[in-house]
């Protein structure tokens, strides 16, 4: 058999899940969609003592409006997020990002919470969560707490989740008026992890950018928000020159990206600039057209 032995639990409540997690004190892993965890088990890169399968906990898969925010249950399959008219309308950046995750066969199983809790810095959703300032609801033995995205991601494959906590839902602001967004990435093959990518939103007030959010993925130990580049755009006219300057600022401000067999640090830096530039141009165009893209 591929994976090493583990104890298996399929609790039916979050409270039960957290109590099992607490008992194993860091030696148990939560199993959501399994599209990252099971490969790690198969290769024995992960050898937890126990798996806590939360697929049989009801109510963790939902997509709904929550006041002026969009709330998504952690166990919602990526495919269901992709196909949700509400997501497409309320937060088009999230919709677009989900379509870039692997392949439909993976998105049928993969969950939004699993992807965020796995925190692969080359994946799309952490960058989207950072750019949109998503809020993470986390349940532990002593109840719920809420963390902003910027405090959730700690480093490579590491989040602020404690060993006895479960990510239960994520809420995103609904897209503001006069706002456009875009996510752009380069991968060696369609559906592969991106070498680098950018998730951006731009809000226009006439011809000027009243707000901009830029987050990169694939360039560091976590997704990275580039506040300096955003600052350069705020109040500026949404001209080619301003978008160039913002993309240059991204290139110059990010820490040295990783070099690996797929791409050099310099190439990733170059991609970060180019993807940011393309994403900004697309976002500005969408903001101008007021278009919720097809």
């Amino acid at each position: 058999m591929k994976p090493a032995q583990f104890e298996y639990f399929a609790p039916e409540t979050v409270a039960e899940a957290t109590s099992i997690l607490a008992r194993y004190d860091g030696e148990a892993k939560v199993l959501a969609g399994g599209q990252s965890l099971v490969p790690l088990l198969n290769m024995r890169l992960a050898r937890p003592q126990a798996l806590v399968d939360i697929n049989r906990v009801p109510d963790l898969a939902e997509i709904r409006e929550d006041g002026d925010r969009l709330l998504i249950g952690a166990m919602t399959r990526q495919r269901d997020v992709e196909r949700s008219d509400l997501v497409r309308r309320a937060q088009p950046l999230l919709h677009e990002a989900v379509t870039l995750i692997a392949h439909p066969q993976i998105r049928n199983r993969g969950t939004i919470g699993g992807s965020l809790a796995h925190a692969d810095p080359a994946s799309e959703l952490p960058a989207v969560a950072l750019a949109l300032e998503a809020q993470f609801t986390i349940t532990g033995p002593n109840g719920d707490r809420t963390l902003p995205a910027q405090d959730f991601f700690v480093t490579f494959l590491t989040t602020a989740l404690q060993p006895d906590e479960v990510l239960t839902s994520i809420s995103f602001p609904t897209q503001a008026q006069n706002t456009g967004s875009s996510v752009q990435e380069v991968a060696r093959r369609h559906g592969d992890f991106a070498l680098a990518g950018a998730a951006v939103t731009v809000t226009l007030d006439g011809d000027r950018c009243s707000d901009a959010r830029i987050a990169l993925f694939g360039v560091g130990a976590t997704a990275v928000r580039t506040s300096g580049a955003e600052e350069a755009l705020r109040g500026a006219e949404a001209s080619d020159a301003a978008l160039d300057a913002a993309a240059d600022a991204v290139r110059d401000q990010i820490d040295d990206p990783l070099t690996d067999i797929h791409a050099s640090s310099d190439f990733r830096r170059h991609l970060a600039r180019t993807m940011t530039r393309r994403a900004l141009a697309t976002a500005v165009e969408r903001a101008r057209n007021g278009a919720r893209y097809a």
């Binding site: 058999m1 591929k2 994976p3 090493a4 032995q5 583990f6 104890e7 298996y8 399929a10 199993l31 399994g34 599209q35 099971v38 490969p39 088990l41 198969n42 290769m43 798996l51 399968d53 697929n55 495919r79 692997a102 392949h103 439909p104 066969q105 993976i106 049928n108 199983r109 093959r189 369609h190 559906g191």
Partner: protein, 159 residues
């Protein structure tokens, strides 16, 4: 003794009950316990798509799902497609359009296409490519596979 868990699921219309180690992957259960050798084991980490089956109607990788997770599920493998010796229209279309060479990847492709054509009776080339991006063919038969999907769609529309 390693822990074992009860498992009850439907595969190709038949209900099975078994007791398995939790670490047994679904593909190994389907092949080893049920003898369904049409579910192929390729990369064993979710990349190649050879082990694709339908789980409650949705195409998914059986190599990165545990058998115990499939308890209660309704699964279709390539063995469940033909009826009384008559090939399913997708299988027939692969045969007629030379959609396979060595055939290793074929069951996975066919199960992905099952889900696609269930939802979309006339997919475009782009829609077919988006679906089949998750299945690798190392004979590089992709052009004929896309032709097979169009032919299968035509056959299924005529049913």
């Amino acid at each position: 003794m390693p822990e074992r868990r009860d498992l009850r699921l439907r595969v190709n219309g038949v209900t099975y009950e078994s007791t398995v180690e939790p670490r047994l992957t679904l593909v190994d259960f389907l092949r080893g316990e049920l003898g369904l050798g049409g579910v192929h084991v390729g990369c064993e980490h979710g990349v190649c798509g050879a082990c694709t089956v339908l789980i409650d109607g949705r195409a998914a990788r059986s190599c990165i799902m545990l058998a115990v997770q499939a308890s209660g599920a309704d699964i279709t493998t390539v063995e469940g497609l033909s009826t009384d010796g008559t090939l399913h229209p997708i299988q027939q279309a692969f045969l007629e359009s030379h959609g396979l060479q060595c055939g290793f990847c074929t069951p996975g492709f066919i199960m992905s296409i099952c889900e696609l054509l269930e939802e979309n009776k006339s997919p475009t080339d782009d829609e077919i490519k988006e679906t089949l991006g998750g299945n690798l063919c190392r004979c590089t038969g992709y052009e004929n596979i896309i032709k097979s999907v169009h032919l299968a769609a035509e056959k299924m529309r005529a049913l």
